[in-house]
C-alpha cells in the first residue's frame, strides 16, 4: 500500500509565523509578513546577534557547498531550504559548475511556492514540498528522480534544519536512511542550533517563542551532532562552531565563534 497518496493537503495560514520567513528576516530579506517580524523581534530581543547568527549559518552553507564542489560533487539536495534569496545553492553551484543539479525541499508551502516561482526556467533545479521527518517521500518523489541521479555523489545540505527534528522523530534513523540512499562520495553538511554557552533560561525562552511556529526547536551539543554523522567520515575540522569550519578569512571566526549559536560539520560517505 506504499502507493497510497497522502491526501492531507497542507494548510496555508499566513497569520501563523513561519521559521523560514523569520530566517529570511534575520538575513535582511523582505520575504516575510508582520507575524513573522513580530515573532522575530522577540527572538532578537533575546539574541541581538540574531542576524549575525543567521549569516554565520549562511556563510557556512556557502563554504560547505564550495568544499563539495571542489570534491567533484555536482548535485545537491538542500532540505529545509526555506525562502530562496539570492546567493542560493543553485546560484553558487551553477556558477562554479554549469549544469550542477539542485533539489530544494521545504515543508513550508509558501517557501516552496516562492522557490518554484524563482526556479522557473531553470532545468537543473527543482523544488519539492516535503518533510525531512518523512525522508522516504523525498527520496521516492518524482522531483528528486527528475533532478538527481542517486548513482552519482550527492551533496546533502541540512542547514539549520535538524534542530526542528525532535528526538522522537529519530534524526539518527533519518540520516542513516539518507546515507543508504546516496552513492559513495556523497557529502553531508549539517549546521545545528545549540544551547552550549547559553543559559537554560534563555534557551527555554527561545524554544517557547518557536512553539508558535509549525516547527518547535530541539537543541543538540557538539557530541550529539557528531553522533548524527554515524557512518559518515567527518571532514576536518569535525564538529565545530560554524564560523570555525574552514573559514575563508580569519576575521570571520572572531573572538567568540559561539555567538553563532550553531555547530556544524561536513561528512563524506566512503
Amino acid at each position: 500500500m506504499g502507493a497510497m497518496p497522502e491526501w492531507v493537503p497542507e494548510t496555508v495560514d499566513t497569520t501563523k509565523p513561519s521559521a523560514a520567513r523569520m530566517y529570511d528576516y534575520y538575513l535582511g530579506g523582505a520575504h516575510n509578513f508582520g507575524v513573522d517580524r513580530e515573532l522575530a523581534s522577540q527572538v532578537l530581543a533575546l539574541f541581538p546577534d540574531g542576524p549575525m547568527m543567521a549569516q554565520a549559518n549562511r556563510s557556512f552553507l556557502h563554504r560547505a557547498v564550495r568544499t563539495m564542489l571542489d570534491a567533484g560533487v555536482r548535485q545537491f539536495l538542500d532540505v529545509g531550504s526555506g525562502i530562496p534569496t539570492s546567493g542560493n545553492v543553485h546560484e553558487i553551484a551553477q556558477q562554479a559548475a554549469p549544469g550542477a543539479k539542485v533539489l530544494y525541499v521545504d515543508h513550508d508551502p509558501v517557501a516552496v511556492a516562492h522557490s518554484e516561482l524563482m526556479l522557473r526556467g531553470n532545468p537543473d533545479a527543482d523544488v519539492l514540498q516535503g518533510d525531512l521527518r518523512r525522508p522516504a517521500e523525498i527520496l521516492e518523489s518524482s522531483q528528486l528522480r527528475g533532478v538527481l541521479d542517486l548513482s552519482q555523489p550527492v551533496g546533502i545540505l541540512l542547514i539549520a534544519v535538524l534542530h526542528f527534528v525532535s528526538d522522537d522523530d529519530r534524526p539518527g534513523d533519518i540520516l542513516a536512511g539518507l546515507r543508504d540512499a546516496v552513492a559513495p562520495g556523497s557529502h553531508l553538511a549539517v549546521s545545528h542550533g545549540t544551547g552550549v554557552g547559553r543559559t537554560t533560561a534563555t534557551m527555554d525562552q527561545l524554544a517557547e517563542i518557536y512553539r508558535a511556529t509549525a516547527t518547535p526547536l530541539t537543541y543538540r551539543d557538539h557530541d550529539q551532532v557528531r553522533e548524527l554523522f554515524a557512518g559518515w567520515e567527518l571532514l576536518d575540522p569535525g564538529v565545530v562552531w560554524v564560523p570555525e569550519w574552514r573559514p575563508s578569512w580569519h576575521d570571520e571566526v572572531g573572538e567568540n565563534p559561539g555567538f553563532s549559536g550553531s555547530v556544524g560539520a561536513v561528512g563524506r560517505k566512503a
Partner: protein
C-alpha cells in the same frame, strides 16, 4: 550592474588581495600634486591610485562583513567594491558634481546583497572618515563634495532597498497566494477521493470519467459496479477496522489491475467499487473483456491480521456509446444492474436492461403516488359484464379498479394491487372501491328494471379484519343497497392464507352477501377443499381463464388431445360444483365458440371479452340500458 563597473583601473582586481592590502597599509603615502582638488585630473600614478582604491575597498569589505549575508566569496566582493570606490573617486575628482555616481554606488551595494540598515550606516561612516584620506585627497571643496556624494549614496541605497523590499513583498505575497491556491486545489481534490482507499469517490469518478469519454469520439464505455455483499457481515463480526483493511486490499487489487489509459477505478460506496473502461487505441481487448476479470479479482481470499476472508461480489454491468455517457447515469444504471445481480444470489452478474429499469422506475413512481391517489379517491371502479349464457343477459358486473395516473395513463390493477398490499393500503383501497361500487349498484337498482349484482374483489387483509362485516354493512347502508345485491370475490389462495379470512367470509355470507371463490383451482388448494366451501358460506366458484385457454378459441376439440381432455376437466368441474350446490362462473370467454361450449356445459355465468371488456360506469350503464 555591469554599467557601473566600467572605468576600473586594470590593476584594481589584481591588487585586491591580502598582500596588496598589507603592502598598501605599510607603504609610503603616494605623492600627490600640491593643491590637488576637485578640479584636478586623475591621480598622479595609476599603480598607486589602484592600490589606494583596493586598500579602501578592502577596508569597506571588512566593515560590511557581518552586516548581512555575503552572496559571493569575499575576494569577489572586494573586487566589486574596488570598482565602486573607483567610481566614487571619479565623482570626487570630476569638475562638476554628478549625483548619479553616488546613487548608483548606493544601488550597487544593495545589488551585491548588503541590505541591512547597518551596511549603510557603516558605509557612510567609512566614507566620511576615510575616503579622502585613503585616496590622498584634501581640501575644503572636497569635504563639501564628499558630503554631496554621501547623500547621493544614501539616496541610491534607500531607493534600491525600497524597491527591493517592495519586490520581495510582492514575491512573498504571490507565493503565499500560489501556495494558498494549491492548498485549495488539494482540498478540492480531497473531496473527490475516498480517504479510506485513496480512490476517487462518486464525484471523483464523474470528474475523471468525463475527459476519458471525451477523448474517444466513438467507442464504448463499459462500467462494472462491484458490490462486496459480505462486507456488512465482515464489519459486524470482525469489526469495522478489519472491514476497512479488506476494502483497502480489494482496492489495491483493482488499482493495480486497472491502471492503463482509458481505465478507471473508483470507490463509490462503502462496499461498492466501480470499474470503467473506455475503448482505447492501445487496448487489445474490448472494454467488456477487460472488465470480465474484475469480479474474480475480488473473489480471491483476502488476508487481514492473520484472518482469511472470502467475500462474495455481485456485479452489475452497463455498456453504452462513449459519446452518450453521463457518469451519474452510468453509476445509477450499474447500481440497478448490481441490485438485480444481488437478488439473484452470490457472485451473480447482471447486465443493465433499460426496459426493466424503466418498468421498475414506473413501479417506484406508482408506489410513491399510490397512497395519495387512494386518499384522494383517484382510483375508479370499472365494470366487466358477467353474462348468463343461456339468455345472454348481463346478470352481474365485476368491479375492477383502474388508476388514471397523470403520467402513466390508465394503470391496471395487476400493477398496483401488489403495491397496495405491500404498503398496507389494501383495506383503504378496497373500501373506497366498495363504496363506489355500492353507490353505482344502488343507482342501477333505481333506474334499471333488472339491475346486475355487483361483484367486488376482497383483499385478505380486509376479510381478516374483525370489523369487516360491520364495515361492509355500513357501506351498504350508506348506499341503501341490500346485502343480496353484493357479491364478494375472494381468491382461493387468499382464502387459505389465513383462518381469519374464512371466518370473515362466513360472517359476510351470514349477513346475506354472496361470497364466491375466485381463481378456483390455481392456488394450493386441492379438489378436496371443494367439500368445505359451502360450510364457509361460499355460494359459487369462478374458474379462471386457464381452463378455456387450454381448450382453444373454437371451444371444441378432439377427445384425445390436451384440449379435449381440458374440455372434460371443465365439464367435470362444473358438474361437481353444481352437485355441491355451487354456482359456476367461467372467466376468459373470448370467442363465440367458447361461449357455445360453456353454454353447452351448463355453466351459470360467463365472463370475458366476448361479452364485454371492463368499462367505466357511464359506458356500463349504457350497456345495461340496451338490455330488456
Amino acid at each position: 550592474m555591469s554599467d557601473i563597473l566600467a572605468g576600473v583601473p586594470d590593476g584594481a582586481q589584481d591588487g585586491a588581495q591580502d598582500g596588496a592590502r598589507d603592502g598598501a597599509r605599510d607603504g609610503e603615502p603616494p605623492d600627490l600634486a600640491p593643491g590637488l582638488g576637485p578640479d584636478l585630473g586623475p591621480a598622479a600614478t595609476p599603480d598607486r591610485a589602484a592600490v589606494d582604491l583596493a586598500v579602501f575597498a578592502w577596508e569597506w569589505t571588512r566593515v560590511l562583513a557581518g552586516t548581512s549575508w555575503v552572496a559571493d566569496d569575499r575576494t569577489v566582493v572586494a573586487d566589486r567594491l574596488t570598482r565602486l570606490t573607483s567610481r566614487l573617486a571619479g565623482a570626487l575628482r570630476a569638475e562638476a558634481f554628478a549625483p548619479e555616481d553616488g546613487i548608483e554606488v548606493g544601488e550597487a551595494l544593495v545589488g551585491i546583497g548588503y541590505v541591512a540598515p547597518d551596511a549603510l550606516a557603516r558605509t557612510v561612516t567609512l566614507l566620511q572618515e576615510r575616503l579622502l584620506a585613503e585616496l590622498r585627497l584634501d581640501g575644503a571643496a572636497l569635504e563639501a563634495r564628499l558630503a554631496q556624494l554621501v547623500g547621493a549614496v544614501c539616496l541610491g541605497f534607500t531607493r534600491a532597498l525600497r524597491n527591493r523590499t517592495l519586490d520581495e513583498q510582492e514575491a512573498i505575497r504571490s507565493s503565499a497566494l500560489l501556495a494558498w491556491q494549491r492548498a485549495e486545489a488539494a482540498l478540492r481534490e480531497q473531496t473527490l477521493h475516498d480517504p479510506l482507499t485513496g480512490l476517487p469517490n462518486r464525484a471523483g469518478f464523474a470528474r475523471d470519467l468525463e475527459p476519458m469519454t471525451a477523448a474517444v469520439a466513438t467507442g464504448t464505455v463499459t462500467a462494472c459496479l462491484l458490490v462486496v455483499t459480505d462486507l456488512p457481515s465482515v464489519d459486524d463480526v470482525a469489526g469495522r477496522e478489519v472491514g476497512d483493511a479488506v476494502l483497502r486490499a480489494l482496492a489495491e487489487r483493482l488499482r493495480s489491475r486497472y491502471r492503463a489509459p482509458g481505465e478507471l477505478v473508483a470507490h463509490v460506496g462503502r462496499e461498492e467499487f466501480m470499474v470503467a473502461a473506455v475503448d482505447h487505441p492501445d487496448a487489445t481487448d474490448t472494454t467488456g473483456l477487460r472488465l470480465a476479470g474484475a469480479q474474480e479479482l475480488l473473489s480471491a481470499p483476502v488476508a487481514v491480521e492473520g484472518q482469511r476472508f472470502v467475500v462474495s461480489v455481485a456485479a452489475g454491468l452497463v455498456a453504452r456509446p462513449a459519446d452518450r455517457t453521463d457518469a451519474t447515469r452510468l453509476l445509477h444504471d450499474a447500481d440497478r444492474a448490481a441490485s438485480w445481480a444481488r437478488s439473484r444470489g452470490r457472485d451473480a452478474v447482471a447486465i443493465f436492461d433499460g426496459a426493466r429499469d424503466a418498468r421498475e422506475a414506473d413501479d417506484r413512481e406508482l408506489a410513491a403516488d399510490l397512497p395519495g391517489a387512494i386518499a384522494a379517491g383517484s382510483l375508479v371502479a370499472h365494470y366487466q359484464p358477467i353474462v348468463a349464457p343461456a339468455t345472454g343477459r348481463v346478470a352481474a358486473v365485476e368491479v375492477l379498479a383502474r388508476w388514471p395516473h397523470p403520467r402513466q395513463g390508465l394503470v391496471p390493477p395487476s400493477r398496483f394491487l401488489r403495491l397496495a398490499e405491500r404498503g398496507g393500503l389494501s383495506d383503504a383501497l378496497g373500501r373506497g372501491l366498495l363504496r363506489q361500487a355500492c353507490r353505482q349498484a344502488a343507482a342501477w337498482r333505481a333506474s334499471l328494471a333488472a339491475p346486475p349484482t355487483v361483484s367486488v374483489n376482497a383483499f385478505p387483509a380486509q376479510l381478516a379484519g374483525r370489523h369487516t362485516p360491520g364495515a361492509v354493512a355500513e357501506v351498504l347502508d350508506e348506499a341503501g343497497l341490500p346485502a343480496s345485491a353484493l357479491e364478494v370475490e375472494i381468491s382461493e389462495q387468499s382464502m387459505l392464507s389465513d383462518p381469519r379470512v374464512l371466518r370473515g367470509m362466513a360472517d359476510l355470507a351470514a349477513f346475506g352477501v354472496h361470497v364466491v371463490v375466485d381463481d378456483f383451482g390455481t392456488g394450493r388448494a386441492n379438489v378436496a377443499h371443494l367439500a368445505e366451501l359451502p360450510e364457509h358460506g361460499v355460494r359459487g366458484i369462478k374458474l379462471p381463464a386457464d381452463f378455456l385457454a387450454r381448450i382453444g378459441p373454437d371451444g371444441s376439440a378432439c377427445h384425445d388431445t390436451t384440449a379435449g381432455r381440458a374440455v372434460r376437466v371443465l365439464a367435470w368441474t362444473v358438474d361437481l360444483a353444481h352437485d355441491l350446490g355451487l354456482q359456476v362462473t367461467v372467466e376468459g370467454v373470448e370467442t363465440a365458440g367458447q361461449h357455445d361450449l360453456v353454454e353447452a356445459l351448463g355453466v351459470d355465468l360467463a365472463q370475458g371479452w366476448h361479452h364485454g371488456r371492463p368499462a367505466d360506469a357511464e359506458a356500463t350503464t349504457r350497456l345495461l340500458r340496451t338490455q330488456r
